[in-house]
C-alpha cells in the first residue's frame, strides 16, 4: 500500500481535536471567567459572544470520538475505558453547561443564580476533566492482551491534576482574549487586566509540564534532548516565549484581535510540543498508531468521506463566524 493510512488518520484526528480544543476552549473559558465578573449585563454579553457558535464547536468533540473509533478502534476502547470516570465527569459538565447556557436567559429571577452557577461549575468540571484526561494520557496506560488492565483510578496522579489545572488556565486565556476581541468598554478593560496574569500563568504551566514530562519519562527526554532533535525542536520553546511576549505587548496596545490570535498560536505550540513528545504512540507509552490501526478497508472507506466533506464543514463554520462577526454590546442581540 502506497499511502500511510494510519499517519493520515493520526493527522486528521489531531486536527479535529485541535479544532475542538481551541474552539470549545474559548467558550469553556467564558464559563471559567464567570466568577471574576459580577455585573449581570456583562455576564449576558459574555455568553452572547459565543451563544451562536458553541454547539457547532462541540461537534468537533463528537467527530474526535467517532473518528478515533473508526481509525484506531484499539485506542478508542483502551483510552476511553481507562478514562471512564473523568469522561463521565466531562460529559456531565458539558451537559450542565450546555443547558445552562440557554436556560439562564429564560429562568425566573429566582432561578437565574442557579443556572449561572451551573454554567460556571459545568465549565470548570468539563475543563478539569479534559486536562486530567490529558495528563493521564501522557502518563500512559497499562495494557494487557489488547485491553486496559489498570485500575479505575489510575488516571489520578499529581501530574494529571496539574495538567487539569493547566488546561483551566489555558482556556481562561483563550476566553479572556476572545472577549477582548468581541467586547468593548468596561468589560474589555476588565478582560485586558485579567488576561495579563493568566498569560503568565499559562507560560508557567507550559514550563512546568515541559520539565516534568521529560524528567518522569526518559523516552520523552530522549526525544527532545538528543542530537539532532534538539536543534529541530528548539524553535518550539523559543516561539512559546515570543508568543507570550506578543500577547502581553498587544494587550497593552489598542489592538483587539491580536491577543486572541497569539493565544491561539501559543495553544497550538503547546499542542505541537505534546505531539513531539508522544509521537508515534496513540496509546502511550508503547502502542503506536500503526499497532492500533483499523484494517485498511475501514480507514480507506472513511478517508474518502473525510477528505471530501471536511472542507465543506470548514466552509460553513467560517460562514457562521462571519455572520456573527463584530463586537457584542450590552443588551444587543445579533439581529
Amino acid at each position: 500500500m502506497g499511502i500511510d493510512l494510519p499517519l493520515i488518520w493520526a493527522i486528521i484526528i489531531s486536527f479535529g481535536m485541535m479544532m475542538y480544543v481551541i474552539m470549545d476552549g474559548f467558550d469553556l473559558g467564558i464559563g471559567i471567567l464567570f466568577p471574576f465578573v459580577h455585573d449581570r449585563h456583562d455576564r449576558d454579553t459574555m455568553v452572547n459572544t459565543v451563544a451562536p457558535v458553541w454547539d457547532g464547536n462541540e461537534t468537533w468533540l463528537a467527530l474526535g470520538g467517532a473518528a478515533l473509533m473508526a481509525a484506531f478502534p484499539l485506542a478508542y476502547s483502551v483510552i476511553l475505558s481507562a478514562l471512564y470516570l473523568p469522561i463521565v465527569l466531562m460529559l456531565g459538565g458539558l451537559i450542565w453547561r450546555g443547558v445552562a447556557f440557554e436556560f439562564r436567559f429564560k429562568a425566573d429571577e429566582a432561578h437565574k443564580p442557579f443556572w449561572n452557577k451551573a454554567f460556571a461549575w459545568g465549565s470548570y468540571i468539563a475543563t478539569l476533566s479534559q486536562g486530567i484526561a490529558l495528563g493521564a494520557f501522557i502518563n500512559g496506560f497499562e495494557v494487557t492482551g489488547g485491553a486496559y488492565s489498570g485500575g479505575a483510578l489510575d488516571w489520578l496522579s499529581p501530574f494529571s491534576l496539574f495538567t487539569g489545572l493547566g488546561l483551566v488556565v489555558a482556556y481562561a486565556l483563550l476566553g479572556s482574549t476572545w472577549l477582548v476581541m468581541k467586547t468593548d468598554g468596561a468589560l474589555q478593560v476588565r478582560m485586558k487586566e485579567l488576561a495579563r496574569p493568566v498569560t503568565m500563568a499559562v507560560l508557567a504551566m507550559i514550563a512546568i509540564v515541559s520539565l516534568w514530562t521529560p524528567l518522569s519519562h526518559p523516552a520523552v527526554a530522549a526525544r527532545w534532548f538528543s542530537l539532532p532533535n534538539i536543534v529541530f525542536f528548539a524553535p518550539v520553546p523559543i516561539l512559546v516565549l515570543l508568543a507570550t511576549w506578543a500577547i502581553l505587548r498587544t494587550l497593552r496596545q489598542d489592538s483587539h484581535a491580536a491577543p486572541f490570535l497569539f493565544a491561539l498560536f501559543l495553544l497550538f505550540l503547546g499542542y505541537s510540543g505534546l505531539a513531539i513528545s508522544l509521537w508515534p504512540n496513540i496509546i502511550p507509552p508503547s502502542i503506536s498508531i500503526w499497532d492500533a490501526a483499523a484494517p485498511p478497508e475501514s480507514m480507506g472507506f472513511t478517508l474518502v468521506g473525510a477528505l471530501f466533506i471536511i472542507p465543506f464543514i470548514l466552509a460553513y463554520t467560517t460562514w457562521s463566524y462571519y455572520v456573527f462577526r463584530g463586537k457584542v454590546r450590552t443588551g444587543e442581540g445579533y439581529h
Partner: protein
C-alpha cells in the same frame, strides 16, 4: 448495587441513556420535516397561518434539538467507555459509520440550524427555506447512518474475522445488510408518526380549552391526515420487518410470541396474552387464537416457526420482556390506526374539531408514539440478546472490565442528572406547547429582535419566553 453484576449494570446504563436519548432525535426528525413543510406551504400559499405555526413549532424544536445534542454526545463515548471489547472488535465497522454520521449529518444540522432558527429576518426567504430543508435532510441522513450501524449488529454481513477482530470486506453489503431497509423505514416512519401524534395532541388540547383559532385547527387537521396515512403504512412496514426477523433472527420471533415448541402437523396459535416463564419453558395463562400466529408470522394458514426450545438455553432472549414490550407497541399501533380512521369519519361529517370524546382521545394518544418507539426498540434489542453482534459476539464478551462499584457510581450520577436536566427541558417544551401559537396578520410580522431575553443564542434561545424551569 442491588446485587446486580457489572454486565447488568453496564446494560442498564446503556439502556437508560439511549432510551432518554432516542425520544429527542425521534421528535427532531419529525419536527424538522414538519417545519420544512410548513415553510414550503407559507411560501407557496402566502397563508400566514403556516408562518405562525412555523414560528411556534421552531421554538419547541430548538429546545428538543439541544437535548438531543447533549444526550447524544454521551452515546458517542459510551461505546468506548463501557463496551470496549465490542469497540476493539467491531469498531472497524461501527466507527466509520458513526464518523460518516458526524461528517454528513451533525455538521450539516449545526451549520444550518442557526439560520433556520434566527435568520428569518436576516436572509432571503429562499435561503431560509433552503436552511430548513438542510436541517431536515441532516436529521434523515443521521438516521440513515445510525440505523445502518444498528442493523449490521442484527444482521451482520460483508466482513471477515481476522486475528480476533472484524475486517470489513464489502461496505455495500455492510451498509445494505438484510434488515437495513426495513429498520430504517420503520424508524423514520415511527418518528413521523410520533411527531404527528404529539402535534395533534397539542392542537386537540387547545381545542378542548376552546381556543378555536386557525392555527390550532390547522395543526390538528394536518396531524390527523398524517396519522391516517402513516399509521397503516407503519403497520405494513412492521409486518415486513417481522417476516425479515423470522428469516434472520428466528429466536427473537419465538420469544416475542412466547412460542416454545412446534408440534408436527399443528399450526401456530396467536397468544394474545400470557406470561412466558423462562425457567419452566412455557407460557403461562396463555389466551390463544388458533391459526392466527401462523397467518400473521408466515402469511400462511399452516405456516410454522421454530419454538424457543429449539435454541440452546444460553442462546434464548428473555421472552417475558419482549413478549410484553412487543404487545404494548402493537396495541398502541392499533389505537393509532383507530385514531386515523375515526378522524376521517369525523372529518367527513365536519365534526373533526367538535367531538370532545375524540379530542380527549387525541390528547391521551400524544405520548403514544414515543412509548411505541421505546417498546419497539426494547423488543428488537433485548430480542437480539444474548448477542451484541448477532451470532458473532456475545454481549458478555463486549463489556469493559469496570467494577460493579464504578458502574453503580456513574449510573447514580447519570440517573440523577438526566431526570433533573431532561425533566426540566421536557417540562419547558410542554409549557411552550401550552402557551400556544401566536397569530399575526400579514403586516404584523413576528419581531424576534428586541430585548435582553430575546437573544438569538443557538439553539435554545430561539425561545424568548421567560419562565421557571423548575429545577433548583
Amino acid at each position: 448495587m442491588f446485587g446486580l453484576t457489572a454486565l447488568e449494570l453496564a446494560r442498564i446504563q446503556f439502556g437508560f441513556t439511549i432510551s432518554f436519548h432516542i425520544v429527542f432525535p425521534a421528535i427532531t426528525i419529525g419536527l424538522a420535516s414538519y417545519l420544512a413543510v410548513l415553510e414550503g406551504l407559507w411560501l407557496w400559499t402566502k397563508d400566514t397561518v403556516y408562518r405562525d405555526l412555523y414560528h411556534f413549532w421552531s421554538k419547541i424544536f430548538a429546545v428538543n434539538f439541544a437535548m438531543g445534542v447533549v444526550s447524544g454526545l454521551v452515546m458517542a463515548y459510551q461505546f468506548g467507555t463501557n463496551w470496549s471489547y465490542f469497540s476493539a472488535f467491531a469498531g472497524s465497522i461501527t466507527g466509520p459509520l458513526l464518523t460518516y454520521e458526524v461528517l454528513t449529518a451533525f455538521f450539516l444540522e449545526a451549520g444550518f440550524l442557526g439560520v433556520a432558527l434566527f435568520g428569518w429576518n436576516k436572509v432571503g426567504p429562499g435561503l431560509h427555506f433552503f436552511a430548513s430543508i438542510m436541517v431536515a435532510s441532516g436529521t434523515l441522513i443521521s438516521a440513515g447512518w445510525i440505523v445502518a450501524s444498528n442493523s449490521w449488529m442484527h444482521t451482520p454481513q460483508g466482513f471477515e474475522i481476522v486475528s480476533g477482530r472484524v475486517v470489513p470486506v464489502d461496505w455495500l453489503k455492510v451498509i445494505f445488510n438484510p434488515s437495513y431497509p426495513y429498520r430504517l423505514a420503520h424508524m423514520v416512519v415511527a418518528a413521523y408518526l410520533a411527531t404527528a401524534l404529539f402535534v395533534g395532541a397539542s392542537g386537540a388540547w387547545h381545542l378542548l380549552k376552546r381556543r378555536h383559532t386557525r392555527a390550532t385547527r390547522t395543526m390538528m387537521s394536518m396531524a390527523m391526515w398524517m396519522v391516517l396515512v402513516v399509521a397503516p403504512l407503519q403497520i405494513a412496514i412492521g409486518d415486513a420487518l417481522g417476516l425479515n426477523t423470522l428469516k434472520h433472527q428466528p429466536a427473537k420471533i419465538a420469544a416475542v410470541e412466547g412460542h416454545w415448541e412446534s408440534k408436527p402437523g399443528e399450526s401456530i396459535p396467536l397468544i394474545l396474552f400470557g406470561w412466558p416463564d423462562m425457567a419452566a419453558e412455557t407460557t403461562r395463562y396463555a389466551v390463544e387464537i388458533p391459526y392466527l400466529g401462523s397467518l400473521i408470522l408466515t402469511h400462511d394458514w399452516n405456516g410454522r416457526i421454530p419454538g424457543l426450545k429449539e435454541f440452546a438455553p444460553e442462546d434464548r432472549p428473555n421472552s417475558t420482556i419482549v413478549f410484553w414490550s412487543f404487545r404494548i407497541m402493537v396495541g398502541l399501533g392499533m389505537l393509532m390506526l383507530l385514531l386515523g380512521v375515526w378522524s376521517l369519519w369525523l372529518r367527513s361529517r365536519q365534526r373533526l374539531f367538535g367531538s370532545k370524546l375524540f379530542l380527549r382521545f387525541v390528547v391521551m394518544m400524544g405520548p403514544s408514539g414515543l412509548i411505541a418507539i421505546l417498546t419497539g426498540w426494547y423488543t428488537t434489542e433485548i430480542g437480539r440478546q444474548p448477542w451484541v453482534v448477532y451470532g458473532v459476539m456475545r454481549t458478555k464478551d463486549a463489556v469493559s472490565n469496570h467494577s460493579a462499584l464504578a458502574l453503580s457510581v456513574t449510573l447514580i450520577v447519570i440517573l440523577v442528572m438526566y431526570f433533573a436536566i431532561f425533566g426540566t427541558g421536557i417540562s419547558y417544551m410542554l409549557k411552550l406547547v401550552v402557551k400556544g401559537p401566536e397569530e399575526h396578520g400579514p403586516e404584523d410580522a413576528p419581531d424576534e429582535s428586541d430585548g435582553q431575553n430575546r437573544r438569538p443564542a443557538r439553539p435554545l434561545s430561539a425561545v424568548p419566553e421567560s419562565f421557571n424551569p423548575g429545577v433548583g
